[in-house]
């Protein structure tokens, strides 16, 4: 790697950005896929380690980049999932080469893009400037568009195209919102760069024009909400998930949605800091519930296994948005926890689904039967993953869903009813499909999969442990962040 080790030690903040950027450059030039995959893993690992070191040694707040309690959660989570996904990708993508879905040139492109994506997401999370954050998220979107279309099949191209068009509109709306925030800040902070710096904004937000902030939030909600995949802005999400390479589906669901949500949360904090602005909560709650219930029903008629889990992501992002919309220390804590658990679980499910699709040679649910018979480890891994995502104990999502539901009682008890209804609808669909896919007479190939199950079960183990025991420091940390979110 071309990153000097000294840099990594001295300034972890830039390391989190430079490592992926540099690795992308290297990978773009690297011919052999075997080495490239390893380099990809190593770079992701290094990024994660650098992100971890941010926990210990927090750098000073800069004009463009900064680290605070909130984004460190996201950075650590996303670099971790980025690392495990790269490990999964290493065992997955070789098979695509063997069966000729991808060429070595494609792979070079793929690995480079992977690191650019990581770079863009980290940049978006660490940016202290709302303009820079916007640029980073746009970059991440464009990168994933290219990745989604990598198989060059008609379906993949069309999914990419849909993603691209809808994403572009979303980007435009988010930009307009950003401009409005700047307009609101300018009279208070003064013209120029400072009026887009997050730390400056939040300090003075109480004296911004509340009306302008209100309008801005509508645009930001719709703009970034498109990226989060909230209904009715979700249309790109299922196709992008199902047609792209599985590692990208995992990253999309596990990370990119979170990054967009992070942007939304930042602006929500801004509004919350202004006493006369409308509370952003009701809007988030409404869209969250809408996504939850809508996605719940959409789960029933899905025939493609990856698309189904993509809808499940919409459902969970709706749930998380709902939690943050409810607000308050308890709901925010629950939202953070749920986001973490969802990232880990959903990426684990996509790992499993990737191997399944390779083993069975299809993504159609109707053609996958009896997995626990033909591929016991994989099948039970999937069962565990789906059980976790459906919110059954003792896995972590149960705890966060418990907290989300119970947090409504502190604020708006009646909201618990549609919430619980949506959860039940989605639960039914997932368990229905699970019992078809995992049980019964096995169909299709039962040839063993050459795959590493480590990332899959590592994630599930983390989710399991979190469901039983959350370490005190982690709780304190999340609670601190939850208070910050207001």
């Amino acid at each position: 790697m071309n990153v000097p080790l000294a840099d990594l030690v001295i300034d972890p903040l830039s390391a989190v950005l430079i490592i992926p950027a540099g690795a992308a450059a290297v990978l773009a030039l690297m011919p052999g896929y075997w080495v490239a995959a390893r380099v990809n893993v190593l770079a992701s690992l290094a990024t994660w380690l650098a992100a971890l070191s941010l926990l210990i040694d927090r750098p000073a707040i800069g004009g463009y980049l900064f680290v605070d309690d909130l984004n460190i959660v996201f950075v650590v989570l996303s670099t971790f999932v980025g690392f495990t996904t790269s490990a999964f990708s290493a065992s997955y993508i070789g098979h695509e080469l063997e069966i000729g879905r991808l060429t070595p040139a494609h792979l070079r492109f793929y690995h480079a893009m992977y690191q650019i994506l990581m770079f863009a997401m980290n940049l978006g999370l660490l940016a202290n400037n709302i303009g820079l954050m916007w640029v980073a998220i746009e970059l991440a979107t464009l990168t994933t568009v290219l990745m989604v279309g990598i198989y060059r099949t008609h379906a993949a191209l069309e999914a990419a195209w849909k993603y691209f068009i809808l994403g572009s509109v979303g980007i435009a709306l988010a930009l307009f919102g950003t401009i409005l925030v700047y307009m609101a800040a300018r009279p208070v902070i003064g013209e120029g760069h400072d009026a887009m710096v997050w730390t400056a904004l939040i300090e003075r937000a109480h004296s911004f024009s509340p009306e302008l902030l209100n309008v801005a939030f509508v645009f930001l909600m719709l703009g970034y909400g498109t990226k989060v995949g909230l209904a009715p802005l979700h249309a790109w999400l299922p196709d992008a998930h199902s047609e792209g390479p599985t590692p990208i589906s995992a990253v999309l669901s596990g990370l990119l949605l979170n990054v967009a949500l992070y942007a939304l949360l930042r602006f929500k904090m801004l509004l919350a800091a202004n006493p006369s602005a409308l509370a952003p909560g009701p809007l988030m709650v409404t869209m969250g519930l809408l996504s939850l219930i809508f996605a719940g029903f959409m789960l029933y008629r899905r025939r493609d296994i990856k698309r189904m889990f993509a809808y499940s992501s919409i459902e969970h992002m709706g749930l998380i948005t709902f939690a943050f919309g409810i607000g308050g220390p308890l709901a925010n804590f629950a939202g953070l926890l749920h986001m973490t658990m969802h990232s880990l679980t959903k990426s684990a499910i996509f790992f499993a689904v990737g191997h399944i699709a390779q083993a069975k040679g299809t993504q159609k649910i109707a053609e996958i039967r009896g997995l626990t018979v033909s591929h016991p480890v994989l099948g039970w891994g999937l069962v565990l993953g789906v059980v976790a995502i459906a919110g059954l104990p003792p896995l972590g999502i149960f705890m966060s869903e418990f907290l989300i539901v119970s947090s409504t009682f502190a604020r708006e008890p009646l909201l618990a009813i549609p919430l619980v209804f949506g959860l039940l609808v989605a639960f039914g669909a997932l368990m229905l499909r699970l019992s078809e896919v995992a049980f019964g007479e096995a169909t299709g190939s039962s040839a063993p999969v050459e795959a590493s199950y480590v990332p899959l079960f590592a994630h599930l183990a983390l989710v399991l442990v979190a469901g039983i025991y959350l370490p005190g420091p982690l709780v304190a940390w999340f609670q601190g962040v939850a208070r910050l979110l207001g």
Binding site: G131, E138, L157, A172, Y182, E191, G192, A195, M196, S209
Partner: protein, 220 residues
């Protein structure tokens, strides 16, 4: 800041809204492209005027981009696409031109009410600009959803984006405007290239007419 400067800015921004209406009114492909070129040129003038009155020379860059790329290159390129791909020369609309225009007026009224009220504390120049920008944006979006042809939808998107640039340059002293305008230009270029590359003739959805009209993610 003297009143004339404000009036000119006002005039140019208002002109953009008017041209957005003209865009909505078109039912011929080439006329649409010509009107769009006019839209872009007015945008360029408006941005340049802003550069002048704000004393911000860097704003001339977006103005130039608007003029050259969107005022000249893209309309010409789309002209050629239309001819090369043999795209139908009339524009299919959803719900007719008249209702669309009415709807557009409603949108303009909405954005005026929202913006003038919201930005009551902002300076008048920015406030008017913002209101017009929002109108342009909404009209662009309206165009995207009421036109069936891919090319007219692209035009809609670009006019939407023009509204954004108008807003960004109107926001006095906003950093990163140049970068954002460049980024958007790249985006637009991507879209146009995409249309050309995927040979999208009629609909946005069908990347290739023959095989893919059926495909909507899943077979029904």
């Amino acid at each position: 800041m003297d009143a004339t400067a404000l009036d000119v800015a006002h005039l140019l921004a208002g002109g953009m809204v008017l041209i957005s209406f003209l865009l909505l009114y078109q039912d011929r492909m080439f006329a649409l492209l010509n009107v769009f070129a006019l839209h872009a040129i007015v945008l360029a003038a408006s941005v340049a005027w802003q550069a002048h009155i704000q004393n911000a020379p860097h704003l001339y860059v977006p103005a130039a981009i608007a003029l050259i790329l969107k005022g000249i290159i893209i309309p010409v390129a789309l002209h050629r696409v239309v001819i090369r791909l043999g795209i139908h020369r009339t524009i299919e609309t959803v719900g007719g031109i008249g209702p669309t225009m009415l709807l557009g007026m409603g949108l303009v009224a909405l954005s005026m009410v929202v913006m003038l009220r919201a930005a009551a504390t902002a300076d008048p120049l920015a406030r008017e600009d913002l209101a017009f920008a929002l109108s342009v944006l909404l009209l662009g979006l309206l165009m995207m959803v009421t036109r069936r042809n891919a090319v007219s939808q692209i035009v809609g998107f670009m006019s939407l984006e023009n509204g954004l640039i108008l807003a960004a340059t109107g926001a006095k002293g906003m950093p990163l405007v140049v970068e954002i305008s460049v980024a958007f230009s790249v985006l637009v270029a991507f879209i146009v290239i995409g249309v050309f590359l995927f040979r999208i003739r009629e609909r946005f959805d069908s990347v290739d007419v023959q095989a893919l009209d059926v495909y909507r993610g899943e077979q029904r």
